[in-house]
C-alpha cells in the first residue's frame, strides 16, 4: 500500500478506535455501578478539551525532552503495531514479511517508553511506576514470544497476512486454546490496564502520569487507548481469523473481532483488583510462562 493511504488507514483506526475505547470504558463503568459522569459519548471529548486547555506543568529539574517525547513514542508504537494488521487480503498498511517479529520488538520498546515517562518526571511516585513496569515487562514479553511463535508455526511465516490465511479452516483460538487467554494477559500488561496497571496505579496517585497535566497528559491517555486498539487488532488477527468471516466484508469482521477483544479487556479492567506486584511476577514466571511452553508444544505437535 502507498504511504498516504496507509497513514490514513492507521490514523483513522487510531482515532475512531481510541474514541470508542473511551466511550466503551464509560459504558462498562456505568454497568459496574459507577455514577453516571454525563453523556458517555460526549464526556471523552469534553475531557479532551479540558486537558487541552489545562497548562502543562513542570516538575523540579525534569528531563524535559524525554518527558515530552515518551507519550509520543508510546503512541508511535501503537500506530506501528496497527500498521501491521491486514484488514483484507489487499488492505494492509504494511505487509511486512517479519511483521510478528516487529510486533514483538514493539512490546519490548513499550517498556522503554513507559519507563522513560516515569523516570524523566524526576519525581518519586512516577519513578516507582517506571520501576514497576520494567519489573513486569520482562515477564509478559517472554509469554508473548512463546504464544506468538505458536501462532506462526502453522502459518510457516512471520507475516500477519499468512497467519490470517492459515485460519481459513480453523481459527487459532480453537486450534491453540491456551493462546488467546495468555495473549489477553499480555495485552493487560502491555497496556498496563486494570489488574496489571502497576505503572499508573491508584496507590501511586497515577504513577508515571502522576506529575503530568494538560496536553502531554492528553497525548499519554490517547496513546494508552491507541495501544489497546492496536493490541486488539493484533489479537484478533493472530487468534480470531483476522478479516475472515462469512457474509460481511473483511474489514467489518476485523472491526467486530477487535471490539470483542476490547470489551473483554475493558471489562476485566473494571472487575478485577490490581495484582500485588510480587504476586504478579510470581504468577507470570511460575504459572503463565510454563503454560506458554505447553501452548508452544501443543502448537508444534499440531503443526506436525
Amino acid at each position: 500500500m502507498n504511504v498516504l493511504p496507509a497513514l490514513a488507514l492507521v490514523s483513522l483506526t487510531l482515532i475512531a478506535g481510541g474514541y470508542l475505547v473511551a466511550v466503551a470504558d464509560r459504558l462498562i463503568a456505568g454497568a459496574c455501578g459507577w455514577p453516571r459522569q454525563g453523556n458517555p459519548w460526549l464526556a471523552p471529548l469534553a475531557r479532551g478539551a479540558w486537558l487541552y486547555r489545562q497548562d502543562a506543568n513542570v516538575t523540579e529539574a525534569p528531563d524535559r525532552p524525554a518527558w515530552r517525547l515518551a507519550p509520543a513514542l508510546y503512541l508511535a508504537l501503537a500506530a506501528l503495531g496497527l500498521a501491521l494488521v491486514p484488514w483484507s487480503p489487499t488492505l494492509i498498511a504494511s505487509n511486512l514479511a517479519t511483521g510478528v517479529v516487529l510486533w514483538g520488538s514493539l512490546e519490548a520498546l513499550a517498556t522503554v517508553a513507559i519507563f522513560l515517562h516515569g523516570w524523566s518526571a524526576n519525581a518519586p511516585l512516577a519513578l516507582i511506576g517506571g520501576y514497576r513496569y520494567v519489573a513486569l515487562g520482562l515477564s509478559y514479553i517472554l509469554i508473548s514470544m512463546f504464544v506468538l511463535i505458536g501462532v506462526v508455526l502453522p502459518a510457516e511465516s512471520l507475516q500477519f497476512s499468512q497467519v490470517v490465511a492459515t485460519q481459513g479452516e480453523l481459527w487459532n483460538v480453537v486450534r491453540q486454546p491456551l493462546g488467546l487467554p495468555l495473549f489477553l494477559i499480555v495485552g493487560l500488561g502491555l497496556t498496563f490496564w486494570g489488574p496489571l496497571n502497576l505503572a499508573d496505579s491508584t496507590d501511586l496517585a497515577g504513577g508515571t502520569a502522576s506529575e503530568v497535566s494538560g496536553p502531554p497528559r492528553l497525548v499519554w491517555e490517547i496513546a494508552r487507548m491507541a495501544m489497546l486498539v492496536a493490541f486488539s487488532a493484533i489479537a484478533a488477527t493472530a487468534f480470531l481469523g483476522g478479516w475472515q468471516g462469512p457474509w460481511l466484508p473483511g474489514p467489518l469482521w476485523l472491526a467486530l473481532k477487535m471490539l470483542a477483544i476490547l470489551l473483554a479487556l475493558l471489562w476485566l479492567g473494571r472487575v478485577l483488583p490490581r495484582l500485588a506486584p510480587e504476586r504478579c511476577v510470581t504468577l507470570m514466571w511460575v504459572v503463565l510462562l510454563p503454560l506458554s511452553f505447553v501452548d508452544l508444544v501443543w502448537a508444534g505437535l499440531e503443526a506436525l
Binding site: 463503568a29 459496574c32 459507577w34 487541552y52 520501576y131 496507590d203 497515577g206
Partner: protein, 438 residues
C-alpha cells in the same frame, strides 16, 4: 467563548480533595455524585476542595498543594477558612449541594466568569541547588551533593528483602497525600518499591465518628442505632480500601449500602462479589502483620483480627442479653483485618435486627464506649505513631498502603463537625437499603 471552552466546561469535574479535620465525609458524597471525579494527584485536578479545618502548622503544606494545580484551577473551601490571598475563593457548608458547587465552579472557570486561583508561593525550588553539576540528570550532578536540599538517590543501604540492592530514594509524603489518613506525614526511604525506612513526621488528624458514639459516652443510646453506625463506619473504610485496590465498583456498592443502611440490610451480595473478584487472593493484603503486643495496644478490630478477645461491649449487660460475643479472626495481617471488618459488619447488622425484635433496648450504662476503631480515646494511641515505623519497612509500596488503609490510626474527635450529625441521620432516613430485606 470558543466551542473548545464550552466543551471543556462540560467535562466531568476532576477534584483533588485536601482533607483537614473532619473532612473525610466529602469523599463518600463525591464518590456517589455524578459529574465529579476524585483524583489523587493535584496535577490532575481542576478544582482543589479543601474540606475541614487545616491546622496552622500545615498551612505551608496546603499552599504547596494549592500551587501544584495547573492553571486554570479554582478552590472550594468546605467548612474551612480560605488562606490569606484566596479571599475570593468560594466557600460551602452544605454537603448536599457540594457536587453542584464543584460543577458550577468548573464551568465558571472555563466560561471565563472566574479567573484561575492565584499562586501563593514563588515558583522556585524550596532549597537552593547544592549538587555538584548543573542538572539533575547526568554529569556531575549524579555523583553526589544535595541538590535542592535533598540527597541524591544513591546506594547508601543494603537491600532488606532479596539482596538486589538499588539506589535508595528518600522523600517526604503527606500530610495531604490522599491515600494516607489526613494529617499523617512521613519521611520514606525506598529501594525500588520496597520500603527501607518509614519515619512518621506528624500524626493523623482526629477523626469524627458518628455522633451517636459521643452520645453513648454520656447517656444510654439505642443499641440498634449504635450498631448501624458501626457497620456504616466499616463499610466506608472498606470503600477506601477497595478503591485503593482497584476495585472501586465494589467500593461504591459498599458506600451505597452504608448510605441506606437499616437493620434489614444484608451484605451477602457484597461479600460474594468480593470473593469472586479475587480481592482476598490477588490484591496486596499479605503484609502488615501485627505482633500480639502491638495488636493489643491498637485495640478494636485490629486486635480482634489478631485473635485477641477484647471488646467493651462484652461488659454491657444489654449486649450480653442480645447474645453478643466478639467476632475473632486469626492472622493479624491486612487480609485478616478486612475479613474481620466483614464479620463485624454482619454481626452489627444481626445485633441491630435482634435489638429491634426485642423492643430496641438501650445500652446499659454510659461510659467507656467501644467505637468502630476500638475503645474511645481522645488522643492518638501510643501505638499508632510508632506502629507504622516498625510495621512498614520491608513491605512493597502497594502492600504498605493497603496496611495503612486497614488500620485506624487517627484519634477520635469529641464531636462531629457542625452539620455532620444532621446530615448523617437525614441521609440514613432518606436512603433505602440496597440488598435483600428478610
Amino acid at each position: 467563548m470558543s466551542w473548545l471552552e464550552r466543551l471543556a466546561a462540560r467535562a466531568p469535574v476532576p477534584v483533588y480533595p485536601l482533607l483537614g479535620i473532619g473532612g473525610e465525609r466529602v469523599l463518600y458524597e463525591l464518590a456517589l455524585a455524578g459529574r465529579v471525579a476524585r483524583v489523587d494527584s493535584p496535577r490532575h485536578a481542576s478544582v482543589l476542595l479543601v474540606a475541614g479545618h487545616v491546622p496552622a502548622q500545615h498551612h505551608e503544606a496546603l499552599k504547596r498543594v494549592h500551587d501544584q494545580l495547573p492553571r486554570p484551577f479554582a478552590t472550594l473551601w468546605f467548612r474551612s477558612q480560605p488562606l490569606p490571598g484566596l479571599e475570593n475563593a468560594r466557600r460551602a457548608d452544605d454537603l448536599a449541594t457540594l457536587a453542584d458547587e464543584l460543577v458550577a465552579l468548573h464551568r465558571e472557570l472555563h466560561t471565563g466568569q472566574r479567573g484561575s486561583s492565584p499562586r501563593l508561593l514563588p515558583d522556585e525550588p524550596p532549597n537552593p541547588w547544592q549538587g555538584l553539576g548543573d542538572d539533575g540528570h547526568g554529569g556531575e550532578g549524579m555523583m553526589g551533593g544535595t541538590p535542592y536540599g535533598r540527597p541524591m538517590a544513591m546506594n547508601m543501604q543494603d537491600d532488606i528483602r532479596d539482596g538486589l540492592t538499588l539506589d535508595s530514594l528518600t522523600f517526604r509524603l503527606g500530610p495531604f497525600y490522599p491515600l494516607l489518613p489526613p494529617g499523617l506525614a512521613a519521611e520514606i526511604t525506598l529501594q525500588g518499591d520496597v520500603i527501607q525506612s518509614w519515619t512518621s513526621l506528624s500524626s493523623a488528624y482526629p477523626r469524627a465518628l458518628d455522633a451517636i458514639f459521643q452520645t453513648a459516652r454520656e447517656q444510654p443510646v439505642s443499641i440498634a442505632e449504635l450498631e448501624l453506625a458501626r457497620a456504616r463506619h466499616h463499610l466506608r473504610q472498606l470503600y477506601l480500601a477497595l478503591r485503593l485496590a482497584g476495585l472501586e465498583s465494589l467500593g461504591l456498592q459498599a458506600l451505597r449500602l452504608a448510605r441506606g443502611l437499616t437493620p434489614a440490610s444484608r451484605i451477602n451480595g457484597l461479600r460474594r462479589r468480593l470473593m469472586r473478584s479475587g480481592f482476598f487472593n490477588l490484591a496486596a493484603l499479605d503484609g502488615g502483620v501485627l505482633d500480639a503486643e502491638m495488636a493489643r495496644r491498637l485495640g478494636g478490630p485490629a486486635a480482634r483480627a489478631a485473635g485477641i478477645d477484647a471488646d467493651l461491649r462484652r461488659d454491657d449487660a444489654h449486649y450480653r442479653r442480645l447474645g453478643f460475643s466478639p467476632v475473632l479472626s486469626w492472622g493479624s495481617d491486612t487480609r485478616a483485618r478486612w475479613q474481620q471488618a466483614l464479620g463485624e459488619i454482619e454481626q452489627s447488622l444481626a445485633l441491630a435486627r435482634r435489638a429491634v425484635d426485642e423492643g430496641d433496648p438501650l445500652t446499659a450504662a454510659p461510659g467507656n464506649v467501644e467505637t468502630p476503631c476500638g475503645p474511645w480515646r481522645d488522643r492518638p494511641s501510643p501505638a499508632a505513631g510508632g506502629c507504622l515505623d516498625e510495621l512498614l519497612p520491608g513491605l512493597e509500596w502497594d502492600s504498605a498502603l493497603a496496611t495503612i488503609a486497614s488500620l485506624d490510626l487517627a484519634p477520635v474527635s469529641a464531636s462531629p463537625p457542625p452539620g455532620e450529625a444532621s446530615a448523617e441521620s437525614a441521609s440514613a432516613s432518606s436512603g433505602s437499603h440496597e440488598e435483600g430485606a428478610p
